[in-house]
Symmetry: C2
Subunit: 411 residues, 2 copies
């Protein structure tokens, strides 16, 4: 069994160890929820001070030019592009993941007007499914959202399919779709491929251009550490950019927004996917945060992610196996993202007790305990200590007693 001392040694050898100090992290907390909300990069706090005191406070409206607010969606998009294997001017940052998904899904259905089906899996993050449902209803019902089990996705890709819409990392199990393979199958069937990278960007290398992905969206507040509700992003492959007819055709996507023409005319390239005025405070925090992860080697991130998730799973098996946990996350490192999930009959109160003890993970209905492992700030000893605290909690109490179930219902 791995000892705490060995974990300390691995931390000393960790090539990413210098990054932890770039985050503000509360004392005594082991934060295993960076996959839901990344912690505050010190440079983001500093940037926001500047935005408040100087940009908004002092320079006011002039900051649209003087501090580059007007170009921020593209600038931030280009920083994200480097994390996901996209090129310059393939990505813009704006709005929420849900809104961006709506934009690209609507555009994709226009590019494949004769095909009826949006194909996705039942494991997709619900808001992605809701957005597809809402869009299809809006369009009058001639399209169909076809939901299949994850294992059946590949065999269900056929010539009815206009778009295959998937989230690369399963938000519950942490299981990974094979981007290369699914994208290729979609293209062989004449469908477009749309990936949601919310749980993968910043956690593992993504190669959108290399795999010929058509469209992608993702989230700014998870592994990118952009802050709560940070703006999201969208990617359009270069060869498709001029085919996009933006359904949300706001002025920021206009070719000449400050001419104040009465007719919408889309900007050339990726900028046409912008809509309203960007939320500068939130966008600036993300812009600064990206400089932290942008300085890290994505292969080193992936390697450490696999190491610490693997260590967590090993320690759970070794020290907590007797307590009735079932790991949901693939044991093969190449098949999982950067999280570990498990179930237990008393998942909810156990997670509540862990959080009380300073180990912050989260609970996903109906019975999933989910732990995210962000390699930039987590140490091997954190993994060891987290399992140690879980072991302590499980040893002290009789978790099969009814009192815990009652507690779950009222917390």
């Amino acid at each position: 069994m791995v000892t705490r001392k060995e974990c300390e040694a691995r931390d000393r050898d960790d090539e990413l160890k210098g990054f932890r100090d770039q985050f503000l992290l509360p004392d005594e907390v082991i934060y295993l929820d960076g996959n839901s909300l990344g912690p505050l990069p010190k440079v983001a706090a500093k940037r926001i001070q500047h935005v408040l005191a100087q940009e908004w406070g002092e320079d006011l409206i002039r900051s649209w030019n003087a501090h580059g607010w007007i170009d921020l969606p593209q600038k931030v998009g280009n920083k994200i592009a480097r994390l996901i294997g996209a090129g310059t001017d393939n990505v813009v940052c704006a709005d929420s993941t849900s809104v961006n998904l709506f934009k690209l899904l609507a555009a994709a259905l226009r590019i494949r007007p004769d095909r009826k089906v949006v194909l996705s899996d039942t494991a997709n993050f619900p808001t992605d499914l809701y957005i597809a449902q809402g869009l299809i209803e809006l369009l009058g019902g001639s399209r169909e959202l076809r939901l299949v089990e994850t294992a059946s996705v590949e065999s269900e890709i056929n010539s009815d399919v206009a778009v295959v819409m998937l989230t690369q990392v399963d938000y519950r199990t942490g299981g990974l779709h094979d981007i290369a393979r699914v994208t290729q199958l979609a293209h062989e069937a004449g469908a477009l491929m749309l990936w949601d990278l919310s749980h993968s960007a910043g956690a593992l290398p993504v190669d959108l251009l290399g795999h010929g992905v058509d469209l992608a969206v993702g989230c700014g507040y998870k592994y990118l550490n952009g802050g709560p509700g940070a703006p999201a992003y969208l990617y359009v492959a270069p060869h498709l950019q001029d085919d996009i007819r933006p359904p949300l055709s706001g002025w920021m996507g206009h070719d000449r927004p400050f001419d104040f023409d009465q007719e919408y005319r889309p900007a050339s390239g990726i900028a046409r996917n912008l809509c309203g005025t960007p939320a500068i405070l939130s966008l600036s925090a993300l812009d600064a945060a990206l400089d932290v992860i942008g300085a890290a080697d994505m292969n080193a991130i992936r390697k450490k992610s696999q190491d610490i998730t693997g260590l967590f799973m090993d320690l759970i098996n070794e020290r907590c196996g007797v307590f009735g946990f079932d790991l949901l996350t693939p044991n093969v490192p190449e098949k999982r993202g950067s999280q570990v999930s498990m179930t237990h009959a008393n998942s909810y109160p156990i997670m509540a007790a862990l959080i009380e003890n300073g180990v912050i993970g989260d609970f996903r209905s109906p019975n999933v305990m989910r732990f995210g492992f962000a390699p930039l700030f987590l140490r091997f000893v954190d993994v060891w200590d987290a399992v140690d605290r879980l072991h302590g909690i499980m040893s002290e109490r009789a978790w099969d007693r009814d009192e815990f179930k009652v507690k779950a219902a009222v917390t």
Copy 2:
């Protein structure tokens, strides 16, 4: 002619004079662009410090509940509701004005499925027109955006019209539509009425419930002082709320977002109009900013707005009449919002010279000089000084010479 001394006296008697100190305003600047970006309320800066250090930095993911992030769109919406004559739970704050307009316009066209026309005027803010164009194109072209001159709007409301979509204050001239009258005409014709309040909320009293308005949207970063790109808001009349089928059906508008169901089921009431995860930094700044304007009497704001816009127009006529300015803004106080616009053959370089001299207004293509008068922080002496500086600039230079036209082209 009004003297500076008389302006000082009016400032001493101003019942809103206590508000100016609640803003961070740069020295030596007379800020006549609060209609484009409101200045920084000190309380908003303080709130953002708290969001950074405590909420995001220390409490992390727990802040969704511990600091009420999850309810912030409704909480902020309710604060805005009090400024626009709406009731509790009639307004939510989210996304951009453009995105919110898309949501409500799409919903309105479903509520009036047999009517073809969206009626608006050529003076509407361009992004509103673009959004309507994009939506209509998305829906396949069976609908029509009918654009008429402002003076013809009332006579063009007929039984073809599904929705009348107007911005209350003309962003160029500052002229006001009559909300009561146009709403009534729309209803008599069986159409829905959708108002964009971006240039009116916070600048003049609005009575949405009193006038029976169906739908409204508006902006958070103008007179509400929520910061650059602050989230926008939308209003739905109580009797229509359950008829809204949200086209942007994201998880935040789901009846039970944390059940992670596969099927979208809209929340009851106004919350169904939410979509993705809210941008907490930007939303928190707006939340704090609203406490400033929320403490002011809207009738006092309107009275002072009419006084200072009137003073500006009088002083322009008296002191700058010889320089060839043409006022665009209605002289009758009841017929204008809180801005004054004028044209000049050399508008662009004159505005640039004014800004260099610390009087910040803005320029709107092709030749409009626009000055916003936000009553919460502007003084009567500011108005006097602004005209005085303009008079100085106009007196010092020969603005009909070609060098200024050249300068305009390169600035």
